[in-house]
């Protein structure tokens, strides 16, 4: 039995971005320098707990940087892509373009 051909672009896709919410999180963060947790939650229309869980996954995978601070006495969590996350996102999109057959 021959070994599977791994030249297809699908093998270069990021596992972490297979989850639709994680894909949306990274897509949103890729557009901007940073987003506050609440803004991202509203943009994606998910619950705090879902977003929090997926952010933790992406943080562990090295995609997302989480910064905690205060505005006055209120805590504020700011999210941004890491440099590694930006380059992996770009590569992921290029792979999707290769699969979709778009230039």
């Amino acid at each position: 039995m021959s070994a599977p051909d791994r030249s297809h672009p699908r093998f270069r896709l990021e596992n972490e971005l297979a989850h639709p919410v994680r894909f949306s999180i990274v897509a949103a963060l890729a557009a901007v320098e940073s987003l506050v947790f609440g803004e991202l939650r509203d943009e994606l229309q998910v619950s705090d707990s879902v977003l929090s869980k997926q952010i933790t996954e992406l943080e562990n995978a090295g995609f997302v940087k989480v910064s905690k601070g205060f505005v006055g006495k209120r805590p504020r969590t700011t999210l941004s892509l890491t440099k590694e996350g930006v380059s992996r996102w770009r590569a992921h999109l290029e792979t999707l373009q290769a699969i979709a057959g778009t230039p």
Partner: protein, 173 residues
Amino acid sequence: MSTSPTPRIPGGHPRDTEVSSTEAERDQARRRLEEAQGRFRRLPASIPAAFITYGMLCAIGSLTVIALHLAEKVPPTPGFASATLVIVFSLIWVAVAMIPLMMFRDRWRRGLGRRWVLLMAAWGAVWVLGVVVATTRFGLVVAPVFFVLFAVAIAGEAAALRSRAGGAQEGTR
């Protein structure tokens, strides 16, 4: 002959050995790209309010240099330091101009953060140069440079906006 379980690829599609993509894969890839493109276009502020701050800073810089140039021509008056007054009020307005930027954070388009640091460094350098040479004829040459700075800032942002509109699928550039 042993059979291995069907492996899965990232994204949940069954792995096959064909080099070409299946129609389902292409459809899903296109949907993902469309979503990325949509978020990329929609999320950042079209023109961040930071450029209002930058416009204020450039106006303050230009007027400070001109005011210092004119202050030099005011006859000395005991107890009245015209140049100091100009510098103090200039710095107060610089601080005031920065307040909205710190209080209200826009969604900055990716790449603006680095450009903002460069723009502020350029503004700081021109401001220092302007204050140093304000009392000489070079002051009147430096004052209009702030207009150029602001024009460069706006032109850079407009170019980034056009570039994003045309190449949103590239993710970040």
